[in-house]
């Protein structure tokens, strides 16, 4: 039997098994065994690579594997929560177990709060902060009652404190009452402080002695008239300037004429046709008679001038003609402003010289210039 079992003769005892094809009924993919050895060689190196700690060029964040299990579990929980089809919301664990009791407690609380017997109400959240408020009050009271407060009050201060407070209250009420018996314009007290300050500034400005400038008494009373007079005088002087005139081109030719005369050169002579010269007087007697007539005329003129008064002479001057157009009041105002009383008379009388028109005009012009 043993020898039979070591060869394939044993199969003869089993007719059904003997009919089976003894060849291998399995097959493998094409070229499987050609690459099997190579793959096993690669596969056998994997544990060595793992033992070396090599990660094949890949790295993971620090402590990645320490938290990996928790992260996966969290992810699973999230996925399960998201995949919950019923509500899409989550509730704390055991929520529904205590829900009935919680609702009943809430109902009891609401009933207690809404009961009509109390008749009192407290601000919202009052009882939430009541404990801390009481504790704070206790701390403050303890602090105030301690002897070492660090502050001091006058002796008997607290004895009169109540009366003082009551008096202060009465005063405030009296001040605030509308029945004062006096009335002020609306908004008076709003602007009172500003008005007082403005008034103080004005008073200080008026009373200051250090202005640095002073004007004569009554200066501002006559200022307007003086200014008006000055305007008329200025206008008169301007007309005087325009009263003198020279021929056209006079000043252009003046320089040339002076130069010709000083250097002896003659200007270009104009071709002038000389006319016929006729002698009207040819005798010597006629010359003496003519001279005598001139002498008589000059002498008579001087005599007449001596006999006539200064008023007549003055009335014939140019200044008199010009000033005759100016109103008398304006001239008076001008003289009061610019000339002292009696100044002109003093000057004219004391000089004992004859004052001609030119001197007087120059004096007036100088005076005007100095004023300006």
């Amino acid at each position: 039997m043993t020898s039979e079992m070591e060869n394939r003769d044993w199969i003869n005892d089993y007719a059904a098994l003997k009919k089976v094809n003894p060849n291998n009924p399995f097959k493998v993919p094409a070229d499987y065994f050609e690459s099997l050895g190579e793959r096993i060689m690669l596969f056998k190196n994997l544990p060595e690579l793992k033992q070396d700690g090599s990660t094949g060029g890949f790295i993971v964040p620090e402590n990645y594997f320490n938290n990996l299990q928790q992260n996966i579990q969290s992810r699973i929980n999230i996925e399960e929560a998201l995949n919950t089809a019923e509500t899409g919301f989550t509730i704390p664990e055991g929520y529904f177990d205590t829900l009935t009791d919680n609702i009943q407690s809430r109902i009891n609380i609401e009933d207690a709060l809404n009961t009509a017997e109390t008749g009192f109400a407290v601000p919202e959240g009052y009882f939430d902060t009541l404990a801390s408020n009481i504790q704070s009050r206790i701390n403050i009271e303890e602090t105030l009652n301690t002897e070492e407060t660090g502050f001091a009050v006058p002796e008997g201060y607290f004895d009169t404190l109540a009366d003082n407070i009551q008096s202060r209250i009465n005063i405030e009420e009296a001040l605030n009452t509308e029945e004062t018996g006096f009335a002020v314009p609306e908004g008076y007290f709003d602007t009172l402080a500003d008005n007082i300050q403005s008034r103080i500034n004005i008073e200080e400005a008026l009373n200051t002695q250090e202005t640095g400038f002073a004007v004569p008494d009554g200066y501002f009373d006559t200022l307007a008239d003086n200014i008006q007079s000055r305007i008329f005088v200025e206008a008169a002087l301007a007309e005087q300037e325009e009263a003198f005139a020279v021929p056209d081109g006079y000043f252009e030719a003046l320089h040339k004429n002076i130069t010709d005369k000083t250097t002896g050169t003659k200007t270009e002579k104009v071709n002038v046709n000389k006319g016929i010269v006729r002698r009207l007087v040819a005798s010597t007697a006629f010359k003496y008679a003519t001279a005598a007539c001139f002498a008589v005329a000059i002498g008579g003129g001087i005599l007449i001038n001596q006999l006539s008064g200064p008023t007549d002479a003055h009335e014939n001057t140019f200044l008199h003609k010009q000033l005759s157009n100016v109103p008398v009041d304006d001239i008076k105002a001008y003289l009061q402003l610019n000339v002292d009383a009696g100044d002109t008379q003093q000057t004219v009388n004391s000089e004992s010289v004859k004052v001609d028109d030119k001197s007087l005009k120059d004096a007036l012009q100088s005076d005007l210039d100095s004023v300006q």
């Binding site: 079992m5 089993y14 059904a16 098994l17 094809n21 097959k27 493998v28 065994f33 050895g37 596969f43």
Partner: protein, 176 residues
């Protein structure tokens, strides 16, 4: 010769390549007949040779090298099937039915109806009887060699083989 080369670190890879070429198919078919599915067999054969690589330096030459590798492969198969049973929380019989379905749907089974029926009969056997039958029927191994692989006495192996053959014969006769 392979073992001597393997002892030298310079020729260790060369020795392992020779080992692969010589035994890879025998080990593969031994595993494949146990787990039926090619992909499972592929994973297991790689695991077996990795273990061979790791432990070959400590292999004692008082045993046959190929029986030692068969033993490793057998243990890997038994471990795999037990894990599969535990993973699916089913009995070993249920695993047998599952493997039978796999055999029916497998693209890598070219046997005829009788051969398929033989495989189905083998799936009904206990692991040790199946191992003994496969090594005797397909690999034509001697009882002494099988004893070295399974660590079982020759007498026990003969009894197991006898029981296995009777069951298979009965299966083949009883079912069409």
């Amino acid at each position: 010769m392979i073992l001597s080369k393997f002892q030298d670190e310079k020729t260790r890879n060369e020795a392992f390549n020779l080992l692969l070429k010589k035994y890879q198919q025998k080990i593969y078919w031994h595993i494949r007949r146990m787990v039926i599915d090619h992909d499972d067999a592929d994973d297991l054969v790689q695991d077996v040779f990795v273990k061979v690589w790791k432990n070959l330096a400590g292999f004692r030459s008082d045993a046959q090298l190929y029986t030692w590798m068969y033993r490793i492969a057998t243990n890997e198969c038994i471990t795999f099937l037990n894990k599969k049973k535990q993973r699916n929380n089913v009995s070993l019989d249920d695993v047998a039915y599952e493997l039978a379905d796999t055999l029916a749907d497998s693209a890598y089974f070219s046997g005829d109806a009788i051969q398929k029926k033989l495989q189905e009969a083998l799936l009904t056997l206990p692991e040790k009887q199946k191992l003994v039958f496969n090594m005797k029927y397909y690999d034509d191994m001697k009882y002494e060699e099988i004893s070295q692989v399974l660590g079982t006495s020759v007498g026990a192996l003969k009894a197991s083989f006898h029981l296995a053959v009777k069951k298979i014969e009965s299966y083949l006769l009883s079912k069409d």
